[in-house]
Amino acid sequence: MTLYLFYFLSFVAIFSALLVVFSKNPVYSVLYLIITFFAIAGHYVLLDAQFLAAVHVIVYAGAIMVLFLYVIMLLNLNTDSEPHKSNLVKITAVVCAGLMMVVLVGTLRGASQVAPLEAQNIGLVKNLGKVLFTEFLLPFEISSILLLAAMVGVVMVGKLDHKNNN
């Protein structure tokens, strides 16, 4: 049963990821990306990482996708304004991505010899919070500085353009 669920979620994820690349309209691309993210959240639930699944849906399907859709609709992009590459470049891209996949699978094929420790519910909030706020406290604080820097940077980019136009 779990295996069928895995196959279904994998099929949905890969199919909609391919549609992200191949659909002509950028709005449809981003909407298919949301489906991919929901499938990946389902995979997280299958892997007993329930809290991470919730965070994934909130951050990606909620925040980042809204940002993408907002920008696309702000710039008023659709199929007519979509730039196209030549066929040679497209074939080269497909060949390169295929080679990339072959290399990745070949490299990671021997990785299955892992020795599991004793089972415990590591995906729950209590356990993750304990690890995050003891072992990874410094990276946690640094990431807050990173988010602040990103916010200030976005405001600066907006301000600079506004000043130049006037």
Partner: protein, 101 residues
């Protein structure tokens, strides 16, 4: 949890390669950003799979940090893109190839 780890490795490799394909295939800069998100998610999925398999919470904490960095990256990147669009009226990366004002 009876799914072999190889299945997740293959799924992540396929999703990562689709992300690479999208970066090489499309010329729309916003879709290229979306495909970078796809690659980050493939890595996140593999990290959660290994974390769950090894019963080690460190991998899942790393996924938090990747999400934070991805959120910051998307915010700054899309802001730069909007500013570029206002100057050049295009999101074609062949036109956006010089980082001049």
């Amino acid at each position: 949890m009876n799914i072999p780890i190889e299945y997740y490795i293959w799924l992540s490799a396929v999703l990562f390669s689709i992300g690479v394909l999208g970066v090489l295939y499309r010329r729309n800069a916003i879709i290229i950003f979306a495909c970078i998100e796809l690659m980050l998610n493939a890595v996140n999925l593999l990290m959660v799979a290994f974390s769950s398999k090894l019963h080690d919470a460190n991998g899942q904490v790393f996924v938090f940090f990747i999400m934070a960095v991805a959120a910051a990256e998307v915010a700054v990147g899309l802001a730069i893109l909007v500013m570029m669009y206002r100057k050049t009226k295009s999101v074609d990366i062949d036109i956006l190839n010089r980082l001049k004002g």
